[in-house]
Symmetry: C2
Subunit: 339 residues, 2 copies
């Protein structure tokens, strides 16, 4: 079997394994929003439904459910908490797209493009508030504490990113700080809270937080790779978008660190000169590839995924082996995904 077919088959198996959970997440979100939006302005209802039911991967609620079940939680009460993590994720996308003036999200007009900035700000506030309510109600003060630390880290990560905008000397450490705040800590919080509500031991909670942190970091690196190397038809985003916005992601940072003086100068020129930038994405990609920027980035993502998978080895009870398998497969999927 060729590598591609093997990946596809692993992906199919994973999708089959998680299908019941994903379907339940969709159902519980529909029920909850019906309740939360009862009597609300019709435009608010439309915006929330448009922004939530958009073919998202539901990675965050899924992680929470799996982490809780891995730690022995039974029953379906966990889903009401799980959806909070999708709401908060959607709320950040609503606001991020306003901030980035992004017109497209998952191949469709973004909420701000379709309904306007005001609607996107307020819709995000609504989901933010609902998510906090669900976490406070279903994960207690301790869960809310972990959750809020992560949401505050997101805001802080955005500020760090703003501060570093157009800083062409961004270090790898700075890149990882932004990724940690904006993406990874929230996935860590998701897994940790899953373990918390399952009343797992502090050691298990810590291990699951580490799993989420590694997974989330790798997820973002792959996102940044797809921005250069993805198929726009699959990702729903234009190729080279980050480069056009002078966004310093890992492949570019690593290439700039390794390039000789003349190639570094050329790469910076392509990045800084508006006209060169517009036509220079292919040349820039070649230069990044020449200095192994893509391969090294992928190597770092692979290393993180290996760490995530290895962290799970403390869960040896055969009764939860099914969930260990799914979390391992999910980690593999993060590496192989093409959208």
């Amino acid at each position: 079997m060729c590598a591609k077919a093997k990946t596809d088959s692993a992906k199919d198996q994973l999708m089959t394994a998680i299908a019941p959970q994903v379907a339940r997440i969709e159902d519980v979100m529909r029920q909850d929003l019906e309740e939360a939006l009862a009597g609300a302005d019709p435009l608010l209802v439309e915006i929330i439904e448009y922004g939530i039911f958009n073919g998202g991967k539901r990675l965050r609620p899924l992680l929470l459910v799996l982490a809780a079940k891995l730690c022995g939680l039974t029953g379906d009460g966990i889903y009401k908490l799980a959806i909070a993590f999708e709401y908060l994720h959607a709320a950040t996308l609503f606001h991020d797209d306003v901030i980035d003036r992004a017109d497209i999200r998952r191949g469709k007009p973004s909420v701000n493009k379709k309904f306007g900035e005001i609607a996107a700000i307020l819709g995000g506030d609504f989901l933010h508030s609902r998510s906090m309510f669900l976490v406070g109600s279903h994960a207690g003060a301790k869960g809310l504490d972990i959750f809020c630390r992560a949401t505050n880290a997101m805001v802080d990560g955005e500020f760090l990113q703003l501060r570093n905008a157009r800083n062409h000397n961004l270090s790898v450490a700075d890149y990882y700080s932004v990724v940690k705040g904006k993406t990874a800590l929230f996935l860590a919080a998701t897994c940790e809270i899953g373990a918390l509500v399952a009343e797992a031991s502090p050691g298990e909670q810590r291990v699951l937080a580490e799993y989420g942190l590694s997974l989330g970091t790798a997820f973002q690196i792959v996102d940044d790779l797809l921005d250069y190397q993805g198929d726009a038809g699959q990702t729903g985003k234009a190729v080279g978008n980050d480069f056009q916005e002078e966004k310093m992601t890992l492949p570019l940072i690593l290439a700039l660190q390794s390039a000789d003086t003349s190639d570094k100068k050329r790469l910076l020129f392509l990045l800084q000169d508006e006209q060169a930038r517009q036509n220079g994405i292919e040349e820039a990609s070649s230069l990044i590839a020449k200095y192994h920027g893509f391969a090294s980035s992928r190597g770092q993502a692979e290393q993180l995924i290996a760490e995530a998978v290895s962290a799970l080895s403390i869960f040896t009870d055969t009764s939860v082996a099914h969930f260990v398998d799914i979390l391992r497969a999910l980690a593999g999927y993060v590496l192989s995904r093409n959208k």
Copy 2:
């Protein structure tokens, strides 16, 4: 003693009575933000401090403290919860000023004007998140439920207002619906949660929620009156701002309902025609006054304040008479305030 001097003296007495609580609110906010912002991006710290320590009246945390003390709560633990209501209020102002593209807040550049829209959106998100955390930690799931219903009503009220923008036929009922969602329900929630954490009876909780609802509604009517009749030097806002934005507030709605055909036509022309509107605020004010739009609005605010004051009569215990007096004086202040 003339009426003005009497009002001033009542105000001085009130300010003296609440000074210890207001000082404590400021202190606890400084301590809490120092903790919450430890290690955060310096720009985020600057934005939050600028937006919070701006000479605000601290009405919301004050109401919470007073409601709790009225219901017998002792000690100072309540302040950590109280400041959440100022944070949420500030978060809504951050986002509202982005939405309204407002440049001025309390006579100074608004957060969006001074730091940009992105900073205002993210700063608002930070405060929103922190407020939910504090409520969840200090008022439990029940308190968070009341709080989130109120924040969701705010978003819904904004949508209702957007839907009604430039609807010159707005009814009094529509006006009250927006005021309830955007302002009054949050003050009701503030008072109710104060009673809740003091473990007051359901009846006392309900009465305090009613007090907050009446007070909040009157507060907004007075705000809308000040927009026409205030002193820009005192309010920090240009006179006639609402009229310039074609915002249908109670004085205008009531005048349009009572005016004869020709005056109604003239008032609508002044409102709808851009050039007429810019020079027509004095004429519009005269027409509103001719049909008692200001006097009737004030009458409705006075009625609401009378209801708020009367609701408090169930608290007959002499040990809390001091707090009943302050809440009554606060209600009186809402009517007499000039900024």
